[in-house]
């Protein structure tokens, strides 16, 4: 019959177009594979200890391969690391400098049909602060600005009830956060503004996302299959109304040993491997093969810096001359070129990696810890140990480092030992034993090699860890004053920037630490993994996933394989 024939004809014509739309109604581009093949396969680490998908439940024990996709954060970070609207469409701060108001984008829904409201955020923050939950990231909200979120510390200590927290819902779409002291970087810090659903929390407890039956999502994906230790499958959320509707149909997390990620990648079982699981042998293979090299996309990661720290309150490192001798004795360039590899790191002369706000890009600080063996020896002689005579034998501790990083730290120690003629042994300690010794007061760690990466994008973070009373046994009152004041300063970005640079100069000049290298992060991807946000180089010429840029989940798609 003619109607049926016409209908068939229309269907035949439209079928290709129909196949090329996502569940959210977006159209795939011409070079994309059919929607049924829009599946991203990622490796999950089967040696890690993981208990939850959600940031608000545990930060250090998340299912790392598919974390945090069940809600949108309040803000996202753009290619210049500036906060841009995500779940919140706008924000403002009151004149007192401590009251922040975030207005939520209207129309956001949970996958069970209920609307997303500010009350969900409030319930989440209260959960994070509650002593029974004992959130492992609780230190963060007492660390922002001077004093952290209002009443946060007292609630965590159990002295006040969670509902006295300085996080309230003015109405269904307006969230208000109050800090104890001014904290201008608050919008960036809200990159961690994830939310759980209030109703599900009350009904099922914080682990409600571990079961597809009780899981609810306001993010681009929902949980469809959960077989921990084997497979996790997320599917695109058809009811998603947020800022990053996904082009992918499914994400599959396959559990395997990190030692076999690259093997699985070569076999075609997974589509991407992060730099941390690529061994030096893998990097050698990547560098030798043009296709692999072209698909290794470098990015800043979390601006991680490797450095050596000292107990500057006890001999021999209480003498500045000794520390300066050590700083000038590390041949960073050769170590980075020979051992780290230029793909993985760049030599560091200070704490802040070029590219980070307030980092030194002109080389003004380069001279202060530059490799100069003669100068190093002079400093050591001036300190009373000519040619290393009489200098105590040292043991430098590392914190459970994998072999590649351990090699870098060992090389640094060897460089110092060979240049100055001192004896340094290196010991790779169990992580908890290391932290136990570091955090003891007085510290039991005489010399250690560690790395630190940022928690949020502001110099107040990376310089703040060097303040007195923190994890580092180094103290300088001018430095403390500069970082505290700049950290709290509202408006006047140039003044703030100048103060941070001054502080960093003090840190480098007074050798709070000997800085070795800044790490480049990166991902090795299959050629068919496409998306402008990470395939197109940004203003600085860097392609690759950026820390804090979760909008890529709305941008990533699988290209048609040749």
């Amino acid at each position: 019959m003619p109607n049926r024939q016409v209908a068939c004809l229309i269907l035949l014509v439209l079928a290709p177009a129909l196949a090329e739309t996502t569940v959210g109604g977006r159209h795939l581009s011409a070079d994309a594979a059919p929607y049924a093949r829009q599946v991203l396969r990622v490796p999950c680490d089967n040696t890690r200890n993981e208990v939850t998908f959600d940031h608000a439940v545990s930060v250090y024990q998340r299912y790392g391969c598919v974390q945090d996709l069940f809600s949108d954060t309040l803000v996202d970070l753009d290619s210049l690391y500036r906060p841009e609207p995500a779940a919140a469409e706008s924000w403002s701060v009151a004149d007192d400098g401590v009251t922040w108001t975030f207005r939520l984008r209207p129309g956001q829904m949970w996958s069970d049909g209920t609307p997303l409201t500010a009350h969900d955020y409030v319930a989440t923050f209260r959960l994070c602060a509650s002593p029974e939950h004992a959130w492992d990231f609780a230190w963060f909200y007492s660390f922002i600005g001077k004093g952290g979120l209002r009443n946060w510390d007292r609630i965590v200590a159990g002295e006040m009830p969670p509902d006295s927290l300085g996080v309230t819902a003015v109405d269904a779409l307006t969230l208000q956060l109050v800090t104890e002291g001014p904290f201008p970087a608050m919008p960036s810090a809200m990159k961690f503004g994830y939310t759980l659903q209030k109703r599900a929390l009350e009904e099922f407890g914080p682990y409600y996302n571990n079961d597809p039956a009780t899981s609810v999502s306001s993010g681009p994906f929902v949980l469809t299959e959960f077989d921990p230790g084997y497979r996790i499958v997320l599917s695109a959320n058809p009811d998603y109304t947020g800022y990053r509707p996904p082009l992918l149909q499914r994400i599959e997390g396959i559990y395997m040993s990190p030692a076999t990620y690259f093997l699985a990648f070569q076999r075609g079982e997974i589509d991407l491997v992060g730099h941390e699981q690529l061994t030096p042998a893998d990097f050698a293979t990547i560098e030798a093969e043009p296709t692999l090299q072209a698909n290794y996309l470098r990015h800043y990661g979390d601006f991680r810096t490797d450095y050596i720290l000292f107990d500057t309150f006890s001999p021999p490192f209480d003498k500045l001359a000794v520390r300066r001798a050590f700083a000038h004795a590390v041949d960073r360039e050769a170590i980075v070129a020979g051992i780290y590899g230029k793909m993985k790191a760049v030599a560091a002369h200070s704490m802040l990696m070029p590219g980070f706000p307030s980092a030194d890009t002109t080389g003004a600080l380069a001279d202060l810890q530059r490799f100069d063996c003669d100068r190093a020896r002079q400093y050591l002689a001036a300190a009373g140990y000519p040619d290393g005579d009489g200098f105590p034998a040292l043991e430098m501790w590392m914190r459970g480092e994998p072999p590649a990083t351990a090699a870098v730290y060992q090389a640094s120690a060897a460089s110092i030992a060979q240049c100055l003629g001192v004896r340094i042994q290196v010991s790779n300690k169990d992580g908890r034993v290391f932290m136990d010794a570091l955090n003891a007061r007085p510290t039991r760690l005489q010399m250690g090699a560690v790395s630190y990466g940022m928690d949020f994008l502001d110099a107040a973070n990376l310089l703040g860890v060097w303040m007195s009373g923190g994890r580092h046994s180094w103290s300088d009152s001018t430095f403390d004053h500069l970082v505290t004041s700049a950290g709290a300063m509202m408006g006047q970005p140039e003044v703030r920037d100048r103060m941070f640079r001054q502080a960093e100069r003090i840190l480098v000049d007074q050798v709070g630490g000997v800085f070795i290298a800044h790490r480049w992060a990166g991902d090795l991807m299959k050629p068919h993994l496409l998306g402008d946000s990470f395939r197109q180089p940004d203003a600085k010429g860097i392609a690759g996933r950026r820390w804090g840029d979760d909008s890529l989940w709305g941008d990533m798609y699988i290209g048609d394989r040749q």
Partner: protein, 292 residues
């Protein structure tokens, strides 16, 4: 009687040595062990470079890629041959010490449990049961904080549980052998128990003990490497074969030499000790005692 006995024992030692030297495999094993011990003792003179001297422009060189580095360099730029030579020191010392302690504790305890029997044997056997479940990893971590690193900590940590298998094997042998006719005869003659155990039963019980020691040597070397990864054990830049093998894991797909040479060294050591051990057992076998 005693003069004759003395002549007998002097003859026995002489005959044992002769038997050992006639056994070609045992001599091969002896030469291997002697060679490795020689290398360990004279490491300072034999090694072409200092084992801790690092050159960052000569990192991860393959064997013969550079004329100065016969076996290549490691991941920090240190000559691998030199590290292998110095590693012999640590590995041999640790493995021989730990096995020595294991024999010194395990054999008497096992003999006690197996030969004496009764209540004493029961108690000693249960002691062995408890120690089998000893948490050596936790104990090692405890030692890190109490004693710090170093050779003595390693030997202590590994010795605490290293004797158990040998004790069990000795016990099993003594349980069997004490019922054999020659023991019954000796007992009937009034020979004291300790003498029977030492002079008559023990030489017959040696076989599994010798094998356990020969397997124990690579096991100890790798256990020491495992402890090094926790920070207990020898510190860098000191070398040990086990640690060199452990570290090579991340590099082995391209830089195969990092795994090959220490593994070969460990294998040769174990082979030498096995062959020598087998030869010693054969030579000391009382069944070969000729009558005078």
């Amino acid at each position: 009687m005693s003069a004759a006995a003395n002549t007998l024992s002097h003859g026995f030692a002489w005959q044992a040595t002769q038997r050992l030297l006639r056994n070609r495999l045992a001599v091969f094993g002896l030469m291997l062990v002697a060679l490795i011990s020689f290398v360990a003792m004279f490491a300072h003179w034999l090694a072409p470079h200092p084992y801790d001297y690092a050159r960052f422009d000569r990192v991860l060189l393959l064997p013969l890629q550079h004329p100065e580095h016969l076996l290549g360099t490691d991941e920090v730029g240190r000559d691998y041959l030199s590290r292998l030579i110095f590693g012999a020191r640590t590995s041999l010392l640790v493995s021989l010490l730990v096995q020595g302690v294991a024999v010194a504790i395990g054999v008497p305890l096992g003999a006690l449990a197996g030969y004496v029997g009764g209540r004493t044997g029961f108690v000693v056997s249960r002691l062995i049961d408890v120690m089998t479940a000893f948490p050596s990893l936790l104990f090692a971590i405890l030692l890190i904080s109490v004693l710090g690193g170093g050779l003595h900590s390693v030997v202590l940590a590994l010795s605490v549980t290293g004797w158990i298998l040998i004790a069990r094997l000795t016990r099993a042998q003594f349980l069997t052998l004490r019922e054999w006719d020659f023991v019954l005869c000796a007992r009937a003659l009034g020979v004291p128990a300790w003498r029977i155990a030492l002079r008559h039963v023990l030489p017959n019980a040696l076989t599994p003990i010798v094998i356990a020691v020969s397997f124990g040597i690579p096991a100890t070397i790798f256990a020491e490497a495992g402890l090094s990864f926790l920070g207990l054990g020898i510190n860098d830049p000191m070398a040990s074969w086990g640690k060199m093998v452990g570290v090579s894991n991340a590099y082995v797909r391209v830089y195969w030499h990092l795994a090959l040479f220490p593994t070969l060294a460990i294998a040769l050591t174990m082979l030498g000790c096995s062959l020598l051990g087998d030869g010693l057992r054969d030579a000391l076998d009382p069944r070969h005692v000729s009558s005078t």
